[in-house]
């Protein structure tokens, strides 16, 4: 498999604090890589190293096959676009002028793609409005348009849906998927909205306390995800008695709800409950999602 970004025992220390410890991570080409971790887990530090904003304490990385200590790394970065933390925009310029600015900086003589990019991100009708008067969502979209200048092969988005309204979130998601499918652009997306990430990512990397805990494809995640039947009953003690008679795996959530982790059909379940006089109020099949998988992997906690 071809990788657009690969690290080799990458470490980053801030004084005595190790922000990244022996990180080994691979981002396959043409993938949408969802980068998941708590606040302070090391996501932004890794992104900063990748972007050349900081230097590794030890270890190395390869960007588009070029090592970080090679002089050609700057050439590789010209095929990189990123929106790290907040979008980098010139506030006294219009959206169009911001894109022209980026094109000039990249040495692109042809400015024809400026209008196309504005159209792609839905900012073509902003006219002479200066970027400082843009909403947060508009700024995010302008940041993405700037990242798209120069036809990048790899785009990094750090919290791309921050501050966006539901419509904006959907638009960014659809844009990412479209660019990935149509232009083959690889994306590295760090997001706290796991549900949103699950809708677009093809691969995942889970980071905790500076370590990559797990990397997997979307298919692997689906295979490893458990199916569960969520039941709402009059008394979970009666339900437990019924389930134990068949030796099924289960988890009591509260005195009226429980999850059953077995592939059992609804009529069988109803028969079992009938035996213990447990009344079923509601019964539905749930698939373990990215959030629950993440919680089971990292061990839960706040600030996901």
């Amino acid at each position: 498999m071809d990788y657009i970004f690969k690290t080799n025992n990458l470490c980053k220390n801030y004084g005595s604090f190790a922000a990244l410890k022996d990180v080994n991570m691979e981002i396959p080409k043409h993938s949408i890589y969802g980068f998941v971790g708590k606040n302070g887990a090391g996501k932004t530090t890794l992104i900063r190293l990748l972007c050349g904003l900081q230097t590794p304490s030890s270890g190395s990385y390869e960007l588009m096959g070029i090592k970080n200590d090679s002089a050609d790394i700057l050439k590789a970065r010209r095929k990189l676009g990123a929106v790290v933390e907040s979008p980098a925009i010139y506030k006294d310029l219009t959206a169009r002028d911001n894109l022209i600015q980026q094109c000039i900086m990249l040495g692109l003589a042809d400015l024809k793609n400026v209008d196309e990019l504005l159209d792609i991100v839905g900012l073509s009708d902003t006219g002479k409005k200066k970027a400082k008067n843009f909403s947060l969502g508009m700024r995010q979209r302008l940041g993405l348009a700037i990242a798209l200048c120069g036809n990048p092969e790899f785009i990094i988005l750090d919290e791309p849906t921050n501050g966006l309204d539901p419509q904006g979130i959907i638009e960014i998601r659809e844009l990412v998927i479209k660019l990935n499918k149509e232009r083959g652009i690889t994306f590295l997306i760090s997001s706290h909205i796991l549900d949103e990430l699950a809708r677009m990512a093809t691969h995942y990397g889970f980071i905790d306390k500076g370590h990559i805990v797990r990397q997997m494809s979307n298919e692997s995640l689906r295979k490893e995800s458990h199916k569960a039947i969520k039941m709402t009953v009059n008394d979970t003690k009666l339900l437990a008695k019924a389930i134990e008679s068949r030796g099924l795996k289960y988890k009591i959530i509260d005195n009226r709800t429980a999850d059953i982790y077995e592939d059992i059909n609804f009529s069988e379940m109803a028969k079992l409950c009938d035996k213990t006089e447990c009344i079923i109020e509601k019964m539905e099949e749930n698939e373990e999602n990215l959030e629950s998988f993440y919680l089971s992997l990292i061990g839960g906690g706040k600030n996901v």
């Binding site: 900063r48 972007c51 050349g52 904003l53 900081q54 230097t55 700057l74 050439k75 590789a76 970065r77 010209r78 990189l80 676009g81 990123a82 790290v84 933390e85 907040s86 979008p87 980098a88 925009i89 010139y90 506030k91 006294d92 310029l93 002028d97 022209i100 600015q101 980026q102 000039i104 900086m105 990249l106 040495g107 700037i146 120069g150």
Partner: protein, 255 residues
């Protein structure tokens, strides 16, 4: 480097801070002459000469250059645009050199604007030259322009070193204020209005050194040293700024 420089000049021209400082520069020249002319009309004994107008810019030049470069460069940092340049594959050396060139350009543009405004004011108000020849005035503008360019570079380097934090404003403007106070003290002691200079020994040497080789002092007085002396001071601050800027910015971790 030239594509970054091209982009930076474009940004500088569009920058509200730069435009405001340029406007303040021009309006200050114009209104100060207008006020002086009004005084002249009301009290004909007080004669207004073109010399006074020409040397007007020197009183605010350092503050203007620092404000202009601090606002422009700090916003480039805080808005993430320097970060964006690095991400886009620009080398840190090129980014710094481009901004250093912009710092020089700030000084040049402000000085040229002030020079043109002062000459226009002379034409508008029919002012005559008193004691200075055209050659002396041109020499003054040459020295003040070069010193403003060097100070623009120094101020830009300060922001690049401090990393675009608001502290850049505090440090930058504190330097201007301290230098203003020091220059007033030094020049007052070296050239007292009444009597002769009473300084001796180390203090005299130190004060003369500051006056000769610190470009912060140049706009405060009519030039009275040779070009070589002034170039030593201007060259000195330029080289020190460039070396410090390159060494520190190359290693700096960007926010």
């Amino acid at each position: 480097m030239f594509r970054i420089f091209h982009a930076d000049i474009r940004k500088m021209i569009h920058d509200k801070g730069f435009r405001t400082c340029l406007m303040v520069n021009i309006l200050y020249q114009f209104f100060s002459v207008l006020i002086l002319k009004t005084i002249n009309i009301l009290y004909p004994k007080i004669v207004l000469y073109a010399d006074a107008v020409a040397f007007n810019y020197g009183t605010i030049s350092t503050f203007l250059i620092f404000a202009s470069t601090l606002i422009t460069t700090t916003s480039d940092y805080s808005d993430g645009c320097i970060r964006n340049k690095i991400i886009s594959g620009a080398s840190r050396v090129n980014i710094y050199l481009s901004w250093a060139a912009c710092g020089l350009l700030h000084g040049l543009i402000h000085s040229v604007a002030a020079c043109i405004t002062s000459f226009l004011c002379n034409l508008i108000f029919f002012l005559k030259w008193d004691t200075y020849t055209a050659q002396e005035i041109l020499y003054y503008w040459l020295i003040i322009t070069l010193s403003c360019m060097a100070l623009g570079l120094f101020s830009t380097t300060l922001v690049m070193i401090l990393g675009g934090y608001k502290a850049s404003y505090i440090v930058g403007l504190s330097i201007v204020i301290v230098m203003k106070i020091v220059s007033l003290e030094v020049l007052d002691k070296l050239y007292p209005e009444n009597g002769i200079c009473t300084l001796t020994g180390f203090k005299l040497c130190l004060y003369q050194f500051l006056e000769k080789y610190l470009p912060f002092f140049y706009p405060m007085m009519r030039p009275h040293y040779g070009l070589f002396t002034y170039m030593m001071g201007i060259g000195g601050i330029t080289v020190i700024s460039l070396i410090l800027g390159l060494v520190i910015f190359k290693r700096k971790e960007i926010r």
